[in-house]
């Protein structure tokens, strides 16, 4: 199955290649060819791969996904205003099947200091701005899916924040997976470059529309330059017909800070790879994750943090709530390189299982090659606290309400660090709604 999928996708790539933006740009061609080669050699991951032991992608590879275009899409202004987060003041960009849609976006209103561009456009008009960054964060491509993303590289969004610029209003990017008539695939490649000392919050939302199945195979590369502070909220709200393979690869320079949230509220099969390289002294990364899964949902978070330089800090805190036959995987790898003295690293993964049939595989993995470090990690798997449940019921609160209250209390502390308030409230409400039905 895997082999056939490789053949099919490589053939599709070959057909499409001449139409991809800047087909003659040498470094870009090299990047795409690298992806093709890697996919050809390594193939797609299988259960035999240590990093994919618990996540079976066969069902996904069996489906004939067509590369999505926007021709067949039914995303309009009404959809956008329906999807918008109430009372969140932000700059908004809408991307459908990987392609930014100018008339649904207010990118032109984005203040000086933030440049939001279509990757395809920029590859043609000013590729020099991309060359230093694109593909540099994932050498080589970690697995077949990222390799495929490189092979098809062309669509996506580029966000550049000028040095020293500080923004209060977040930038919201709505990635719509649209599949009206056939199973559709999008492979956006995004790039966020936060210039020295800049500061911005980016909200990346993934939603789905249409009756057919969607596959989002997205790769986002992030560069946080010295002393910059970038916050990235990733909110997965696709449908149970959605497959989501997401890669986030961030490099942090001296004194910078990167806060990333991975919030998964929907999606049939979700795999998130997140790799952060702390490449400059004193850099700090805070990773927070929340996954709520039910039915037969499968959610896999694979994170890696590399402490490559001294005096860096990493905090990682993931929580999951699993019901029915849902399954989740958490793999948190932290590597402290020999030069990374005075590292402070803390990691936790806590899980709440609401049914006997739900399953979590959690694996913290610390590799420490320096001697002067402070590292702590822990994972827990538990059920609802019976004592607390009885306490609430003894006050007249109905059992279902009490359960919901306790689940919410468990999940919410991941969200308390979210700002602005309107975004946090939206997320809290979303979690509450999910628990209610």
């Amino acid at each position: 199955m895997t082999a056939q999928a490789v053949v099919d996708y490589l053939a599709a790539q070959q057909r499409l290649e001449p139409e991809l933006p800047a087909p003659d740009l040498p470094w870009l061609v090299e990047l795409r060819d690298g992806g093709v080669e890697r996919l050809r050699v390594a193939g797609f991951p299988s259960l035999r791969d240590e990093d994919w032991r618990y996540t079976n992608v066969q069902s996904l590879l069996k489906k004939p996904f067509e590369m999505g275009s926007i021709g067949q899409c039914d995303v309009d202004a009404a959809f956008v205003s329906r999807t918008a987060i109430p009372s969140l003041e932000c700059h908004r960009v809408v991307v459908v099947n990987g392609i930014p849609i100018p008339h649904l976006s207010d990118a032109t209103l984005v203040p000086d200091g933030i440049r939001v561009s279509s990757l395809a456009d920029l590859l043609v008009s000013d590729p020099g701005r991309l060359e230093p960054y694109l593909g540099k964060n994932l050498v080589p491509d970690p697995h077949g899916f990222t390799a495929m993303n490189s092979a098809f590289l062309g669509n996506g969004l580029v966000v550049e924040i000028a040095p020293g610029q500080v923004f209060d209003k977040p930038l919201e990017i709505i990635f719509v997976a649209s599949a009206a008539t056939e199973s559709t695939m999008a492979q956006p490649r995004n790039l966020v470059v936060a210039g020295k000392g800049s500061r911005l919050q980016v909200l990346a939302r993934y939603v789905a529309i249409g009756a057919q199945e969607t596959l989002t195979n997205v790769v986002t590369e992030v560069i946080v330059d010295a002393d910059a502070h970038l916050t990235l909220y990733q909110l997965q709200e696709e449908s149970k017909n959605s497959f989501h393979i997401g890669g986030l690869f961030a490099k942090l320079r001296r004194g910078s800070r990167f806060d990333a949230f991975a919030i998964t509220l929907a999606g049939g099969l979700v795999r998130n790879d997140l790799r952060v390289d702390l490449d400059g002294a004193g850099a700090e990364v805070n990773l927070r994750g929340l996954y709520l899964a039910r039915g037969r949902q499968h959610i896999d978070n694979h994170t890696q943090i590399f402490h490559n330089e001294p005096g860096c800090i990493s905090h990682e805190h993931y929580k999951g709530v699993l019901d029915d036959r849902a399954r989740a995987v958490f793999h948190g790898r932290i590597v402290v390189q020999p030069d990374a003295q005075k590292t402070v690293s803390e990691q936790s993964n806590q899980n709440l299982l609401l049914s006997r049939d739900a399953e979590i595989d959690t694996k913290p993995q610390l590799e420490i090659y320096a001697d002067d470090v402070k590292c702590a990690h822990g994972a827990t798997v538990g059920q609802l606290d019976k004592e607390a449940l009885f306490y609430l019921r003894s006050r007249g609160i109905a059992e279902e309400t009490a359960k919901r209250l306790l689940i919410k209390a468990f999940a919410n502390d991941v969200l308390l660090a979210v700002s602005p308030d309107s975004l946090r409230d939206h997320l809290l409400t979303r979690v509450e709604m999910m628990l209610a039905d």
């Binding site: 004592e387 019921r393 006050r395 007249g396 609160i397 209250l405 209390a409």
Partner: protein, 257 residues
């Protein structure tokens, strides 16, 4: 209002309550005393509906309800309140949220509308004053990080907000300093009105100096071995439980008034 008849309860196959009889009329205050492990909390928990207890025999009638047939939340809405011996910490749920949900659950059950924010706050302030609790406790997670005494006060605060018809206080006096004991006692006394009944579980005469019971019962080894008026508590303070336990071992349990 409450009538317990021949109640036998096991935990994990082990008999804990071995035939309890107790009648509490509306407006009465009953105190239960007895050695550690005699089954006092078991009785309180069974009345409140905690899981894990097997009722093997007997019945509990509360008003016109078969109390044991009701879910814990239904008992609470009918006016049963348990102040826990060990109040539970609930990180992530604020005290004020719990109280609001609790009060509104009662009101809804009685067919009343929810309290509006202003009336609710007014009531909260008034009751906080009653137990001399600072307002900051409202916004802290339920019992989380509270000192032992603060937890007990919080139980009485909740009771004052909920205004139950039958309040069961399981060792609410344990772990309180003298001043806190007075505060809690006056909180309870303020609640002592009309047809509200109170069941106090305590080890100490001291509490009964402040809250005078109508009846005192001694529970030993799962049975009531003696009942009397408030003077019984003083006797126990002087002589301990030994003489009663011997009685209990040699004969069948006695019914309580």
């Amino acid at each position: 209002m409450l009538s317990i008849s021949d109640l036998m309860v096991e935990v994990g196959g082990k008999p804990i309550l071995k035939g309890i009889n107790l009648d509490i009329a509306a407006g009465e205050v009953h105190a239960i005393m007895g050695p550690n492990g005699s089954g006092k909390s078991t009785l309180a928990n069974v009345l409140a509906g905690r899981e894990g207890y097997d009722v093997m025999r007997g019945s509990v009638t509360y008003g016109d309800h078969d109390l044991l047939a009701l879910a814990p939340e239904e008992r609470a809405r009918e006016g049963v309140f348990l102040a826990f011996q060990y109040p539970v910490e609930i990180p992530g749920v604020t005290n004020v949220y719990l109280i609001k949900e609790a009060v509104n659950a009662q009101r809804k059950h009685r067919g009343e509308s929810e309290l509006d924010a202003i009336d609710f706050l007014k009531l909260v302030r008034q009751k906080l004053q009653l137990v001399e609790m600072k307002e900051e406790f409202l916004h802290r997670p339920v019992n989380h990080g509270f000192s032992g005494g603060e937890k007990k006060r919080n139980e009485i605060f909740q009771m004052a907000m909920i205004e139950p018809r039958l309040a069961i206080l399981d060792e609410t006096d344990s772990g309180l300093d003298i001043d806190a004991l007075k505060v809690v006692a006056s909180g309870v006394n303020a609640m002592r009105q009309g047809d509200r009944s109170i069941l106090l579980v305590t080890h100490y005469q001291r509490l009964l100096d402040y809250i005078e019971p109508d009846h005192v019962h001694v529970l030993a080894n799962g049975r009531f071995v003696k009942s009397g008026d408030k003077h019984l508590a003083r006797e126990l303070e002087e002589h301990g439980y030994g003489w009663l336990e011997e009685q209990a071992d040699s004969g069948a349990g006695q019914s309580a008034a």
